[in-house]
């Protein structure tokens, strides 16, 4: 029925539509992605190099937010799925280490920057 060209155009239009649908569906995520990238760059841009280490350490603690994923995965694991429970439990411990260790070590570094005299 369709000549190869019309089916190509149809296919092409379909792809365009898919792409637009994709962008529309994931609109929120794309907003977050773009804005977070810009904010991240802005925040770091004007930092004196003396604060780079504490800042890196603070950022390190913040990506410990992955702990929330570990909590969700652990909370949803069915009680008879032993491997999932073990890995999930480990994930919760590891994520907590990242968060708590990260914030505490950053605080220790920053304690040193108190104004003297």
């Amino acid at each position: 029925m369709n000549s190869p060209e019309t089916s190509y155009t149809l296919n092409h239009n379909l792809k365009m539509e898919q792409a637009i649908n994709f962008l529309a569906t994931y609109r929120d995520i794309i907003y977050i992605l773009i804005l977070s990238v810009i904010v991240g760059i802005e925040v770091i841009g004007k930092v004196p190099s003396a604060l780079h280490t504490p800042l890196m350490s603070g950022a390190n603690a913040i990506h410990g937010v992955v702990i929330i994923g570990a909590i969700i995965v652990m909370g949803q694991a069915s009680p008879d799925n032993i491997p999932a429970l073990i890995i999930g439990f480990l994930a919760v411990i590891l994520g907590t280490l990242n968060v708590v260790g990260g914030f505490v070590v950053t605080d220790r570094m920053l304690e040193m920057f108190r104004k003297k005299k």
Binding site: T53, A59, T96
Partner: protein, 465 residues
């Protein structure tokens, strides 16, 4: 209702991360900023446990979750409180690795929920979380082991870069293959193994001096892995937190490279961090340097009668734990009317800002620490420059010798001062593995010995004067 409250708390937590990071960028507000971000994190974690509603209702296994958090908090606090300030960079690396492992573990479990009818976006997010989390984990552990000096080799496989590039192509190819709907456990676990191996091979050839750059890069990797987890659960706080760290970490990595006047590719794929020790060992012009050793009492004397002294601290100072003694020397000189400043190279220590933390720990006033651009003009007016435990960052070859591997690296122009005293254990080369021509200059005196021991001698000589 519960879900709405949870979403509002996630919004608050996201804002606390952004404002917290912003406050971390000024010395006055940094501590509160860290506290704010931590509070936001705590709130988000507690709210998730009690308010999260999945497809199967509220979360179960709460006892295990609390137990895990308790164990993690205890271990995290203890290790963070006990770590010596000199060992901080590897501690950050270790915590970063834990985050990467956590992201990989989530993907390992979520893979069990994937089947042929899962949307390809979900498959991609799970697989990518596994890959990036695993690379970040194994890479961070190697970085930790190298900085802790558990692992000393910088061995390279034959054709290392080609081999690792091949692995990378394989990882990307398999990820694409799986995203296209070929969901087989075998491929998934092969990808897991490949990613772990890639992280190891990626970090192993990189020299100690470049490790901060690598840690910073792996830090942003973990951020990206956390963001993938956020996409998986449609969880905004994970998305914002992860992406924020991903972008900020990448920029920080670039800033560190700029401070060393090197490109990221140069740091990651070769140059002097790795193979140069052989080049330096092969009969460099060692005998050509005319070195003038000096003694602690001579050094004390010239500093006692100087008007202006600039101290250049390097990692050697930290290793010798001499930051307290150097502060004592500074106080003695100041009491005698000598102006004393510290010149801080951007990469002094093991990370940018590391030296500031170490000196602040021993009560050196924040405003005495002067950054490179500012202090470089002052060296010409200085009577004595005291270089302790630093080498490559004061090598004048970086200014004028295009054949030097560190040519173009911004350095502290200590050679402009009237007298330069270099406190050093031996004539061994620095991290770059090259000879320092400064040691042969007519205005340069060498004070051999352990940094702390010689400094203590100088201090007691100063007291006697």
């Amino acid at each position: 209702m519960e879900n709405n409250i949870l979403q509002i708390i996630y919004l608050l937590a996201s804002v606390s991360f952004i404002i917290g990071l912003k406050m971390l960028s000024s010395p006055k507000t940094a501590r509160q900023g860290n506290f704010l971000a931590a509070a936001g994190m705590g709130l988000a974690v507690i709210a998730t446990i009690f308010l999260y509603q999945g497809h199967e209702g509220p979360l179960g296994n709460k006892i295990w979750i609390f137990l895990g958090i308790a164990i993690g908090s205890l271990l995290g606090t203890l290790s963070a409180k006990r770590v010596k300030m000199t060992a901080m960079p590897q501690m950050v690396s270790l915590f970063n690795g834990m985050g990467g492992a956590c992201a990989a573990a989530i993907s390992l479990i979520e893979f069990g929920h994937i089947n042929a009818s899962s949307p390809s976006g979900m498959v991609f997010v799970v697989v990518a979380g596994l890959v990036i989390g695993s690379v970040s984990f194994s890479g961070s552990i190697i970085a930790y082991a190298k900085l802790q000096e558990i692992l000393k080799s910088t061995k390279k496989l034959p054709a290392h870069n080609i081999f690792t590039s091949g692995m990378l192509v394989g990882i990307v190819g398999l990820t694409t293959w799986m995203t296209m709907g070929n969901i087989e456990p075998g491929t998934f676990y092969l990808l897991f193994g490949l990613s772990l191996a890639y992280g190891i091979l990626f970090v192993i050839p990189i020299g100690g001096a470049d490790m901060p750059v690598v840690i910073s890069l792996l830090n942003s990797f973990t951020g990206v892995a956390a963001a993938f987890g956020g996409f998986l659960y449609d969880n905004q706080v994970m998305q914002t937190g992860g992406i924020l760290v991903g972008s900020a970490g990448t920029l920080l990595t670039v800033l560190m490279c700029n401070a060393m006047n090197r490109s990221l590719t140069n740091v990651l794929f070769g140059a002097f961090g790795s193979g140069s020790s052989a080049a330096a060992g092969s009969g460099g012009p060692k005998s050509e340097l005319n070195i003038k050793p000096t003694t602690a009492s001579d050094v004390a004397l010239i500093m006692h009668y100087a008007k202006k002294v600039i101290i250049v601290p390097g990692y050697g100072l930290a290793v010798a734990q001499a930051q307290h003694v150097i502060h004592e020397m500074e106080t003695l000189l100041e009491a005698n009317g000598v102006s004393v400043k510290y010149a801080i190279h951007p990469v002094a220590g093991r990370m940018p800002g590391h030296m500031n933390v170490l000196l602040a720990e021993s009560n050196v006033a924040y405003d005495k620490l002067v950054e490179m651009e500012e202090i470089n003009e002052e060296f010409a007016m200085a009577d004595v420059v005291y270089v302790v435990g630093a080498n490559d960052v004061v090598n004048p070859a970086a200014r004028h010798d295009p054949s030097s591997p560190i040519f173009g690296m911004p350095i502290l122009n200590v050679d402009k001062a009237k007298t330069v005293v270099v406190s050093k254990r031996s004539m061994a080369a620095g991290y770059a593995g090259i000879e320092n021509e400064l040691f042969g200059y007519t205005n340069c005196l060498m004070l051999f010995g352990d940094a702390k021991k010689t400094l203590t001698e100088v201090v007691s000589e100063l007291k006697a004067l």
